[in-house]
């Protein structure tokens, strides 16, 4: 159990500052997901929390105790690595019980804790195998077992599922969610996969280029992204961004079409309109805000993605539910769900309506 606080955390390599003024409070028992594109600093941040990477500035506290210089072994955190990092010369049981072995826990305690974890993860029959005799999914489970056995105050996950195939990834995602429900421990999870972030997190931290872009629940990020980066990073397919200028009774698009979107106070600053593909609809030409031609129609079964070309604006992606009978090259009219649009200023910040 741990309440983790990051106050003005900074990281630099020599004279190169890669991260600064990172502020974040993680409540006891919370599932926090750090998400962002490669190189955004999410793994570095996790490694600083784990103690594997020195913190260059600021305070890192756990339950109010400053931990900046505490070595990893005394932080009472368990970590699951992307590569699993199982000890190749130890069998599954010894891998899982290694932390207890190091702490010189009595033999019976070790055996019973390992057996319990193995049972939870369905590894009971594999305890005598070496890591090289296991499949990817089983290795992943052992890595999680190694963390569970310790009963740590916080779990750290560094892209734990990215080496698994798609089906296994979904299964393990569920397992991690169940694990969190059962243990109610603080968990910090790093991923670049927004689906993992949205499905697992109590709160998501979106990082880009060493800066926190936004912290919020999955739905907050989806409904009220703080800026264009978050808007485009969260949600799949990606949000459409259309250039606009203020017009009579609302805004005007680049091709001259007027939309009655209520402008907030700083109306003159709105320069872009964001609208998610699922908030656009294909309609009859006379009811449409935009008209163009369908350049590519992707039938996904549950959804149909229509990549439309709108003269004067460019590519617009529309997502319709279910099968949508449309062929490439057909003319389309597009209606915008005006209540669900987002306005951005020239710096990419969202203007609250």
């Amino acid at each position: 159990m741990a309440r983790i606080q990051l106050n003005n955390i900074a990281k630099s390599y020599g004279s190169v500052e890669v991260m600064r003024d990172i502020n974040l409070t993680i409540e006891d028992g919370e599932f926090i997901v750090l998400v962002g594109p490669s190189g955004c600093g999410k793994s570095t941040l996790l490694r600083m929390i784990a103690g594997l990477e020195p913190i260059s500035g600021g305070d890192f506290t756990v339950d109010g105790k400053r931990m900046n210089e505490v070595p990893p072994r005394d932080r009472d955190m368990a970590m699951v690595f992307q590569s699993y990092a199982l000890y190749p010369h130890m069998d599954v049981a010894r891998n899982m019980g290694f932390s207890l072995e190091i702490r010189k826990a009595p033999n019976e305690e070790r055996t019973s804790k390992v057996a319990l974890a193995a049972q939870t993860l369905g590894l009971t029959k594999l305890t005598e195998r070496l890591p090289k005799q296991l499949s990817g999914g089983q290795r992943q489970r052992v890595a999680m077992g190694r963390a569970i056995v310790r009963d740590p105050s916080a779990f750290l996950f560094d892209e734990p599922l990215s080496n698994l195939d798609a089906a296994l990834r979904v299964e393990m995602r569920l397992e991690i969610a169940r694990l969190h429900q059962r243990l109610k421990a603080t968990m910090i999870y790093v991923t670049h996969d927004q689906v993992e972030a949205l499905t697992l997190a109590d709160r998501i931290v979106v990082l880009n280029a060493g800066d926190i872009q936004q912290v919020g629940t999955p739905l907050e990020l989806y409904d009220r992204p703080a800026n264009k980066f978050v808007a485009q990073f969260i949600g799949s397919p990606t949000m459409n961004i259309l250039e606009i200028e203020p017009g009579e009774g609302g805004i005007r698009l680049k091709n001259g079409a007027a939309l009655s979107v209520g402008l907030p106070d700083g109306q003159k600053r709105a320069s872009e309109l964001g609208v998610r593909p699922e908030h656009l609809n294909i309609v009859a030409p006379d009811a449409a805000h935009l008209s163009g031609t369908a350049e590519l129609v992707e039938h996904l079964g549950s959804d149909t993605n229509i990549h439309a070309h709108v003269p004067g604006i460019g590519q617009v992606l529309v997502r319709e539910h279910g099968h949508f009978p449309l062929k490439t090259g057909e003319p389309v009219g597009i209606a915008v769900d005006l209540a669900k649009t987002h306005l951005f200023d020239p710096d990419g910040r969202r203007l609250a309506a």
């Binding site: 784990a50 103690g51 594997l52 070595p71 990893p72 072994r73 932080r75 955190m77 368990a78 970590m79 690595f81 992307q82 590569s83 699993y84 990092a85 199982l86 000890y87 190749p88 010369h89 290694f98 932390s99 190091i102 702490r103 070496l130 890591p131 090289k132 005799q133 296991l134 990817g136 290795r139 190694r146 310790r150 080496n163």
Partner: protein
């Protein structure tokens, strides 16, 4: 892989023929060594290049073991080679680990200097080495050989060990440190067992190098008590004749420790010990 590669009987035969030819080529000198060792002295010249002597004798071995100082040379060589291998491997493992895992000021410079030492012929520094060893009063001692061999072998052995450490994912010791190890404990309990093949290879390499070194042994040693085996071999060459049979018998005996050593470390040389550590 193998299922993809269609091999015809012809290709298989060709492959084995090539291998057989190579093995024959590589082992023929050893065969010749053994052959002359068991050939009676008077037949060596008369039978010339016959592949097998018409009469076999073990007299040469007996003479070498009983009538010469061979056993003393052998013991000296063993002390020097084992000493050199052990000390070099310790240093090389420590240095290789540091080069592999840490970034520190001057790292590139040290690596460059170590490389440079490997780039010029040893002959150039024989005289200065002799002067140094003489000045500290270590001439005619096995210690001097151990020191000199260790110094010469450390750079290569370090690079060898570094490449073994590089092959072990960093994640493993980080996982160990999170699991409660100090860095040293992680090194000892996790990295060390995985480096055994590397340690074995390095030990073997250095042992063999020290075992067969002649130049410095010849320069730094001239008393019969401290002669190593390669120097001792030269005692079979006298002013007027060469005792081929005894020399070759001694040579065969000298192969024994090397062979034993490699049989012993062979199981550590088997690769793939780290497989399964990370995704595969």
């Amino acid at each position: 892989m193998s299922a993809l590669r269609r091999s015809t009987p012809l290709a298989v035969t060709g492959k084995y023929l090539a291998l057989a030819f190579y093995v024959g080529f590589a082992l023929f000198p050893l065969y010749w060594l053994a052959k002359i060792a068991i050939t009676p002295d008077k037949l060596i010249y008369t039978e010339g290049t016959a592949l097998f002597p018409s009469k076999v004798t073990f007299e040469n071995f007996e003479t070498v073991l009983v009538a010469t100082d061979f056993l003393a040379y052998f013991k000296n060589s063993l002390i020097v080679s084992l000493g050199t291998a052990a000390i070099t491997t310790c240093f090389a493992a420590a240095a290789g680990y540091a080069f592999s895992r840490f970034d520190f000021r001057g790292k590139r410079l040290v690596i460059a200097l170590m490389l440079i030492t490997q780039m010029f012929p040893l002959l150039m520094i024989i005289a200065p080495i002799y002067k140094i060893v003489a000045a500290i009063g270590l001439l005619n001692s096995l210690t001097s050989l151990i020191i000199v061999y260790t110094a010469f072998n450390i750079p290569f052995a370090t690079f060898l060990m570094q490449s073994f450490f590089d092959g072990i994912p960093k994640d493993l010791e980080e996982a160990g440190m999170i699991d409660g190890c100090t860095r040293f404990e992680a090194l000892r309990k996790i990295i060390m067992p995985l480096t055994l093949p590397g340690l074995g290879a390095t030990l073997g390499f250095v042992f063999t190098a020290a075992w067969s070194e002649l130049l410095f042994a010849l320069m730094l040693i001239n008393s019969n008590d401290t002669m190593t085996f390669p120097v001792g071999l030269l005692t079979f060459v006298s002013k007027f004749s060469v005792d081929w049979g005894q020399m070759m018998a001694a040579g065969v005996l000298a192969l024994v420790p090397s062979c034993l050593f490699f049989i012993f470390i062979q199981r550590y040389l088997v690769q793939g010990l780290t497989s399964g550590a990370v995704k595969g």
